[in-house]
Amino acid sequence: MTVAVNVHLKKGVLDPQGKAVHHALETLGFKDISNVRVGKQILLEIDTENKEKAVEEAKKAAGELLANPVIENFEIEVK
């Protein structure tokens, strides 16, 4: 089962990459985009058919390594 861990900087922590991308989009004429946040998606292949178990495993991995709780939030998404 593929489970995605989406990691973003917490709200309130300035995202310089998002800001730079936003600026570039504005330059290209995308006037309706008011904010951009850049994060990362980490795809985990987990050997189980049990969805709950997979989500649990992914949460544990995200909490221990994939995200830094001091500056980042994460969301789990079953693909």
Binding site: L9, V13, L14, P16, A20, L65, N68, V70
Partner: protein
């Protein structure tokens, strides 16, 4: 005075750091990240570089190295630990220092001499410097944008854990990377774990641009 310099895959300031300590009279040796023995040092230094290619987040993977478990134990018992640049990032990821590091506000890798103001010197690392003193030390990083939440920041100030701030030659605040309150270096509550983004080991000789790093390196010798 015995110094252990930890070497991770991707560390690149190990030799400069060892040389800097030896130059001030300490005995220094390398310990590879896979080892379990710190070799009974008075001080452990995590030098700068790009441990594990900065994959995931700077310092995130290095924190799981076998030797880091020993460093944590050593710090818990009150042993002195210094993290420079990537070493600072590893200490943050390990939870040995509070807060976290993000990309520089301008997204650039910044490599240049930068002035720093000494904020607190009631610790072993900065004891040879005076509060308010301005020193000039190179910085070289892409992720030096230090972040801490309000409570953590208050605790840092209340316990005199803020060590250094970025400034200009006259001591006015000048922030190269977006770091909260222009903070360049901190220590833990017990004042035995230190982390800073600037490189004192690169400011040991006037022929290389300055020697303001000597007083920092020598602080540990006393």
């Amino acid at each position: 005075m015995k110094v252990t310099v930890i070497v991770f895959p991707g560390t690149n300031c190990d030799r400069d750091t060892k040389w800097a300590f030896e130059r001030t009279g300490a005995k220094a040796e390398f310990v590879w990240h896979n080892e379990h023995n710190l070799k009974n040092p008075d001080l452990v230094v995590l030098p700068g570089g790009f441990s594990y290619g900065d994959y995931l987040r700077s310092g995130a993977i290095a924190r799981f190295s076998p030797i880091m478990q020993e460093v944590k134990e050593f710090a818990k018992k009150g042993g002195y630990v210094l993290g420079i640049c990537n070493g600072f990032q590893i200490l943050l990821e390990s939870g040995l220092l509070p807060g976290g590091m993000t990309r520089n506000e301008n997204l650039h890798f910044i490599s240049k001499f930068h002035h720093l103001k000494v904020i607190n010197n009631n610790n072993k690392f900065l004891q040879k410097l005076n509060p308010g003193e301005i020193i000039n030390i190179p910085i070289a990083h892409a992720e030096g944008n230090y972040k801490a939440d309000k409570d953590t920041l208050k605790e840092l100030y209340d316990n005199s854990q803020v060590l250094l701030k970025y400034c200009d030659a006259n001591g006015n605040e000048l922030n190269p990377n977006g770091s909260v309150d222009s903070i360049a270096g901190i220590c833990n509550k017990n004042k035995n774990v230190f982390g800073l983004m600037p490189h004192p080991e690169r400011a040991m000789q006037n022929i290389l641009g300055g020697e303001d790093g000597i007083k920092m390196i020598e602080g540990f010798l006393k």
